[in-house]
C-alpha cells in the first residue's frame, strides 16, 4: 500500500456514487404519503397585506401565518452595538418586504397540483414605495422597510484612524466609486426539504439540503418552540452550497410545522425561479474610496465608506451585518497599511436577504482594493505588480498583525505575485501590447493578491454576538468488529470531498486504508454537534478533530495490541492498520475482534470505554489560518462588441500543507469559475419598483464550460504553525480574486482609450457603453482641437 495519507492526491471516494448518478439528494427522497408544497409569493417588493383571497374549496389546503399558531419568526441578532434586529415570519404577516416573499403555502399530493391551488390564491396588497437602491434607502424620507425602525440601517460601524496626517501631503490621491453587482449563488442543486414526525423516536425529522444540520436544528427549535432533543435534521447528498445552504429558511420552518400539523411527510423543492427571485441573493457592495500614496506607489492611507445591500431581513445564523462589518475589518487586504479609516452600513432594502456567498465580503473587498491599487499604479506611472510588491506584507514581517488587528500567520505574499507575473509572461504581454493585435482587439494584464482567513473560531466570532459561535470541533471514531473504521463528524460535505480527505487524515494517524473508512456526516442524530461547513473551516477544524480522535483511539488499540503480542506498550507501534512489535504484528481486525467478540482475551485493566470515542480539537491560535494567492489574468477586449476573452489565467496559491492536492485544485477551479461569473456574467438586477429582472437562467447568465478558461495553478507551501498538519483553509479562495484580476486586466487593455471599469460584472453592454462614451468624448475633444487649430 502506497502512501494514502496527508499530501496524497487520492481519488475521491464519493465519486463512485456521485459520478454514476447514484447519490441521494432531497429530490430523490420520498416518504410514503408525502405531500408537496407550493408557495404564494409576494408580487410586489413592498406593501401592506390587506387580505388574502382563498377560494373556499381550497381553504383547507392553504395556510397563512395566522394558521401557524405558536410559530415564532426567524430572529438573527448581532451583539454589535446599534444593531437593529428584524423578525422574519415564515409567512409574511402585515407587510411584505421583498418580491418573492412567501405569503401562503399550498399543499397537495404533487407540486403541480399545489401550484394549481397557489394560482387561485390572490393576496390583496396596498403597494408601498420600495427601497431598490441601498444609497437611496439611507436617505431621509426613504420608505421604511421595518416601520418601527428609525431608519433603514441594520448596523453602522466605524473604524477610526488617522487619515488627515497622510492626506495633507500625499503626492498621490485617487478617489473611486466602486460597485459590485447583486448575485445569486446558483448551486447545481437548489434548496429543498422534506419533514415528517417520527412517532417511534418522538422526533420531528427534517431532511434538508443544508451545510449546517445542527444550526438548522437550533433555529428550528427556536421558531417552533421545541426542545432540541425532539428534532433531528438530516442533510443527505447536497449538490453545492456556497453559503446558500448555510441558513435557516422560512420554507424549512413552514414544511416542518405543517408535517406535524398534518401528521404526514411534507416536501418542498425550490425551483430555479424561486431560487433566483426570492432566495440566494448575495454580494451587493458599494464603495467610496480614497487612497493616498507616494510616487513609489507606497500606499500611505485608505479612507473608505462602504455600503452593503443586506436586503429585508437578517438571516439566521449569520445576521444582516456580517458582510458589511467584515468589509471594515478586511478591506486593507494583504497590505502593510498603517493609516486606515472605514465607515460601513448594512442597509435594509426591499430585496431578498443577502446570505454570505463563497468568499463572503472578501470578493467585493478584493475587487475594491485591487482596483484601487491599479488606479494608483496608473497614476504613479508604475507597473501594477510593482505597486503591489511595494505594499504587500513581507515574509520578514510575519507573523504580522495588520491595521485592523488580523493576525497573518506565515507566508511569502510577494513571492506568490512575482511567480504569477512570471507565469503570465508579464514582459511578453507588454511587448505584445506595443505591437498590437492583428484582429484589432486590445489585450491587457491584471493582478489581484488576497489573503483568506479560514477556520476562524471562538475568539473572532464571539465578538459578533450572532446566534452561533464556533468552539471546539468534535469527531467520533469507532473501530468496528471487523477492524474497519467509522468516523462521525458534525459538519456536512457538499462537494468538499470530506469523505476522502477525512479518510486520509485517518490513514495518516492510524494507517488504515481509506477504503476501509466510512465518514458519516450531515445528521444530528449520528454526529457530534458542529456549526457545520462554512468559513473554509473543515480541513482545519474537522481534520484536526478526526486526527485527535484517531490518536486517542490509537492509544486504546495499542494497549490491546501490545497484550496480544505479549509486548509492553512502549515496544509496539501502529503501522498500516496494525499494531507491530519487533516480533510480529496483530491487525486492527484481530484487535477489534478481541474487544467485541473475545473479550476474555483482553488484558487485565483494559480501558473499559472501548474502541469508540469522541475527541475535540481547536487550534492553538483560533483567529484563523491565512492562506493567500496571487491571480493573474490576461484578456482580450473586442472594442466593437465589448466582449472579453480570457486568454490566460494563472494562480499561485499557498494553502499550507494540502491534505489532498487534487481536491484543493478542484476547490480552486470551482471557485475561479464562480469568480469569472462575478467578474463578467452574473447579476440580479432590480427595477425601480424592486422587481427582480432575472427570473430564469436565460436572464441570469452563469458561465459555462466555454466561458471558464483553463486555469494554471502553482502551489507554494508554508505550513500553518497553528494547525494539526500545517493545513490552511482554502475553500473560498478561488472565488475571491477573479473579479479583481479580470477587471484590472480589462482596464489595462482599454486604458489608452481613457476607459476604466469600476463595477462588476463587466458585461459587454457596460464595457461597450463605456468605450462608446470615451470614443464620443474623445472625438468631441479632437474636433474641438481641430477647430481651435
Amino acid at each position: 500500500m502506497g502512501k494514502q495519507g496527508v499530501g496524497v492526491a487520492l481519488r475521491r471516494k464519493e465519486d463512485d456514487r456521485l459520478m454514476r448518478g447514484r447519490g441521494r439528494f432531497i429530490g430523490d427522497v420520498r416518504f410514503e404519503g408525502q405531500v408537496e408544497l407550493a408557495f404564494v409569493r409576494s408580487p410586489v417588493a413592498h406593501g401592506r397585506i390587506l387580505g388574502v383571497n382563498i377560494p373556499p374549496e381550497h381553504r383547507e389546503r392553504v395556510y397563512l401565518m395566522e394558521d401557524m399558531k405558536g410559530v415564532a419568526g426567524i430572529l438573527a441578532r448581532s451583539g454589535l452595538p446599534g444593531f437593529k434586529a428584524s423578525v422574519q415570519m415564515p409567512l409574511a404577516q402585515g407587510k411584505v418586504r421583498f418580491a418573492g416573499e412567501p405569503i401562503a403555502m399550498c399543499v397537495a399530493a404533487t407540486r403541480a397540483e399545489a401550484e394549481d391551488i397557489a394560482a387561485t390564491v390572490t393576496p390583496e396588497i396596498e403597494e408601498l414605495a420600495a427601497n431598490h437602491d441601498m444609497l437611496e434607502a439611507t436617505k431621509k424620507g426613504a420608505p421604511k422597510v421595518h416601520d418601527d425602525w428609525a431608519d433603514n440601517v441594520f448596523l453602522e460601524t466605524f473604524i477610526d484612524g488617522d487619515i488627515d496626517s497622510v492626506a495633507k501631503d500625499a503626492p498621490i490621491a485617487v478617489s473611486r466609486t466602486i460597485r459590485t453587482g447583486r448575485q445569486c449563488m446558483a448551486p447545481l442543486e437548489g434548496k429543498g426539504c422534506i419533514a415528517f414526525y417520527d412517532r417511534y423516536v418522538e422526533q420531528l425529522v427534517l431532511w434538508t439540503a443544508t451545510q449546517m444540520p445542527h444550526i438548522v436544528r437550533s433555529g428550528l427549535a427556536e421558531c417552533l418552540g421545541m426542545e432540541h432533543r425532539k428534532i433531528r435534521v438530516v442533510a443527505p447528498d447536497v449538490g453545492g452550497g456556497f453559503g446558500w445552504k448555510g441558513l435557516l429558511q422560512p420554507e424549512e420552518v413552514c414544511a416542518a410545522w405543517l408535517a406535524m400539523h398534518l401528521d404526514r411527510p411534507v416536501k418542498w423543492l425550490e425551483d430555479r425561479r424561486e431560487h433566483l427571485i426570492a432566495a440566494a441573493n448575495c454580494r451587493e457592495h458599494h464603495y467610496e474610496l480614497t487612497a493616498y500614496a507616494d510616487r513609489s506607489g507606497r500606499i500611505l492611507g485608505l479612507d473608505a465608506v462602504a455600503h452593503v445591500d443586506a436586503g429585508a431581513y437578517s438571516v439566521y445564523p449569520f445576521s444582516a451585518c456580517l458582510e458589511a462589518a467584515q468589509v471594515g475589518s478586511i478591506l486593507p487586504g494583504p497590505y502593510d497599511l498603517t493609516h486606515y479609516r472605514c465607515r460601513t452600513y448594512s442597509v435594509c432594502t426591499n430585496k431578498p436577504p443577502i446570505v454570505p456567498y463563497r468568499g463572503v465580503a472578501r470578493t467585493g473587498v478584493c475587487f475594491a482594493m485591487e482596483l484601487m491599487v491599479d488606479a494608483i499604479a496608473r497614476e504613479a506611472g508604475l507597473e501594477p505588480h510593482e505597486v503591489r510588491l511595494a505594499n504587500l506584507v513581507t515574509p520578514e514581517q510575519m507573523p504580522y498583525r495588520n491595521v485592523t488587528g488580523k493576525d497573518f500567520d506565515l507566508g511569502d505574499y510577494p513571492e506568490s505575485l512575482r511567480r504569477a507575473a512570471e507565469m503570465i509572461g508579464h514582459d511578453e504581454v507588454r511587448r505584445r501590447q506595443e505591437v498590437g493585435e492583428a484582429d484589432g482587439r486590445k489585450i491587457g494584464i491584471g493582478y489581484a493578491t488576497y489573503c483568506e482567513q479560514g477556520a476562524h473560531g471562538t475568539s473572532v466570532y464571539h465578538g459578533w454576538g450572532i446566534p452561533m459561535v464556533p468552539g471546539f470541533e468534535q469527531s467520533q471514531v469507532r473501530l468496528t468488529p471487523d477492524g474497519t473504521l467509522e468516523v462521525r463528524v458534525g459538519n456536512q460535505s457538499h462537494g468538499q470531498s470530506l469523505e476522502t480527505t477525512l479518510a486520509q487524515v485517518v490513514n495518516e494517524v492510524l494507517g488504515v486504508d481509506p477504503e476501509k473508512v466510512n465518514v458519516l456526516h450531515g445528521d444530528t442524530a449520528l454526529s457530534p454537534y458542529s456549526t457545520g461547513t462554512w468559513g473554509s473551516r473543515s480541513a482545519v477544524m474537522v481534520g484536526g478533530a478526526v486526527a485527535a480522535a484517531c490518536e486517542k483511539l490509537g492509544e486504546r488499540i495499542l494497549g490491546i495490541g501490545a497484550h496480544l503480542l505479549q509486548a509492553r506498550p512502549e515496544e509496539v507501534r501502529i503501522a498500516d492498520g496494525a499494531v507491530a512489535s519487533e516480533a510480529g504484528s496483530v491487525s486492527f481486525a484481530e484487535i477489534a475482534a478481541t474487544w467485541y467478540l473475545k473479550p476474555q482475551n483482553l488484558p487485565p485493566g483494559v480501558n473499559p470505554d472501548g474502541l469508540e470515542l469522541t475527541a475535540g480539537y481547536r487550534p492553538k491560535v483560533d483567529t484563523g489560518t491565512f492562506s493567500y494567492a496571487s491571480h493573474a489574468a490576461m484578456v482580450a477586449v473586442d472594442l466593437e462588441t465589448g466582449h472579453v476573452d480570457l486568454l490566460d489565467y494563472v494562480i499561485v496559491e499557498d494553502g499550507g500543507v494540502l491534505i489532498n492536492p487534487m481536491v484543493v485544485d478542484g476547490q480552486i477551479y470551482g471557485g475561479t469559475a464562480q469568480g469569472v461569473g462575478t467578474a463578467l456574467y452574473e447579476e440580479m438586477t432590480y427595477d425601480g419598483h424592486g422587481q427582480p429582472l432575472a427570473s430564469t437562467l436565460a436572464d441570469y447568465i452563469l458561465p459555462g464550460a466555454n466561458e471558464v478558461p483553463d486555469v494554471r495553478i502553482a502551489h507554494m507551501e508554508t505550513p500553518s504553525p497553528n494547525t494539526r498538519f500545517g493545513q490552511k483553509g482554502i475553500g473560498e479562495g478561488g472565488a475571491i480574486a477573479p473579479p479583481a484580476a479580470i477587471t484590472n486586466a480589462i482596464n489595462d487593455a482599454v486604458k489608452d482609450l481613457g476607459v476604466e471599469m469600476n463595477v462588476s460584472p463587466v458585461t459587454p453592454y457596460r464595457l461597450l457603453a463605456a468605450i462608446t462614451e470615451a470614443q464620443t468624448a474623445g472625438g468631441a475633444v479632437r474636433q474641438k482641437e481641430e477647430a481651435a487649430a
Binding site: 425551483d271 447568465i701 459555462g704 453592454y765 462608446t772
Partner: protein, 272 residues
C-alpha cells in the same frame, strides 16, 4: 414550476393536426425546447398541445432542381450532423451547429423555431437571408410565404391560430452564391444579442442582409448588391438603418452586420 394541466394530442397527419388546432386553446408543439420552459413558467397555458413530430411528412425532405423542401420537424442536430442533404454547401449545418446547446439541438426543430418567432433565434435570420420560403398548412390547404416576411414582430408571425408550419423550402444557390453569418451571444448557447445573415446570389438576383435580435421583426436590407462590393456603400446603407434607439445596441448590431459581410467574403468556393 410545473405547467397547468393540458391534454396532449399526438397528430398522425397534417389534416389531423389542423383539425385538432381548431379546438379552443390548442397549440402545436415540435421539439418543446422553447414552449417547454414557457409551459413550466406558466407563461403559456394552452389547453391542448398538438404534438406534430410524429407526422411522417414533417420528417421528410424533397429535392428538386430548384430547391430542397425540409419537413418542419427536422431537428437542428440533423442539419448539424449532415443527416439531411444541404444544398448550401454547409451553411445550414453551420447555422444549426450554433443553436443553443447540443441537448437543445437534438430535440429542437426548424419549423418550431420559425413558429416560435424569437427575434434573436438563428433560423429566421439565416433562412430569411437565404431566400427560403415557409409552408403553412391550414383548413384551406397549404400556403407559402418568404421566411423574411413571415416574422411580423417579437414572438409574432404570420401564422394564424389554426395553422401549422409544415415545411421550409430552401432554394438551391447558384455556384457563385455566398453566405455569411455572425452573431454575438453573452455566452455560448445563449440567444443572440446581435445576429446577422447575409446572402449574395447574383445569378438569382438575391442580395440580402437580415438583421435579428431586434425589438421587433428582423430588419431586412434587400436588393443591395452594391454593399457587398463597396465598403463605403455598406457604411452609407447602414448609416440610415433603424436599429433601435439604444446607441450601444446599435453599435453591436453594426458590428454583427460588418462581421457577417466579412464572413461572407472570407469563405471561398461555391455556395457557402
Amino acid at each position: 414550476m410545473k405547467p397547468v394541466p393540458f391534454d396532449l394530442v399526438v397528430a398522425k397527419d397534417v389534416a389531423g393536426a389542423v383539425k385538432a388546432l381548431g379546438e379552443e386553446g390548442a397549440k402545436a408543439v415540435g421539439g418543446f425546447q422553447s414552449l417547454g420552459p414557457m409551459l413550466n413558467l406558466r407563461l403559456a397555458q394552452p389547453r391542448i398541445l398538438i404534438d406534430v413530430t410524429r407526422i411522417p411528412e414533417l420528417r421528410g425532405i424533397q429535392r428538386s432542381d430548384e430547391s430542397v423542401v425540409y419537413g418542419a420537424c427536422i431537428t437542428h442536430a440533423e442539419f448539424e450532423d449532415g443527416a439531411v442533404f444541404d444544398p448550401t454547401g454547409g451553411a445550414l449545418a453551420r447555422v444549426a451547429s450554433g443553436i443553443a446547446y447540443r441537448a437543445v439541438r437534438t430535440r429542437g426543430t426548424i419549423g418550431g423555431s420559425l413558429a416560435h418567432g424569437d427575434p434573436a433565434a438563428d433560423w429566421p435570420v439565416a433562412l430569411g437571408a437565404l431566400d427560403a420560403r415557409v409552408r403553412i398548412a391550414g383548413e384551406r390547404g397549404v400556403r407559402q410565404m418568404p421566411v423574411a416576411s413571415f416574422m411580423t414582430g417579437a414572438f409574432a408571425t404570420a401564422l394564424q391560430p389554426n395553422e401549422v408550419v409544415v415545411a421550409v423550402e430552401v432554394p438551391r444557390p447558384s455556384p457563385q452564391a455566398r453566405f455569411g453569418f455572425w452573431k454575438f451571444c453573452r455566452k455560448v448557447g445563449e440567444l443572440a444579442e446581435a445576429i446577422c445573415g447575409v446572402y449574395c446570389d447574383p445569378e438569382r438576383g438575391v442580395h440580402r442582409i437580415m438583421i435579428g435580435a431586434m425589438e421587433g421583426r428582423p430588419v431586412v436590407l434587400a436588393d443591395v448588391p452594391e454593399v457587398f462590393e463597396d465598403a463605403r456603400a455598406l457604411e452609407a446603407a447602414l448609416a440610415d438603418l433603424d436599429l433601435g434607439s439604444d446607441p450601444v445596441h446599435r453599435k453591436l448590431h453594426l458590428a454583427a452586420i460588418k462581421r457577417a459581410v466579412a464572413d461572407m467574403r472570407q469563405v471561398s468556393g461555391a455556395s457557402a
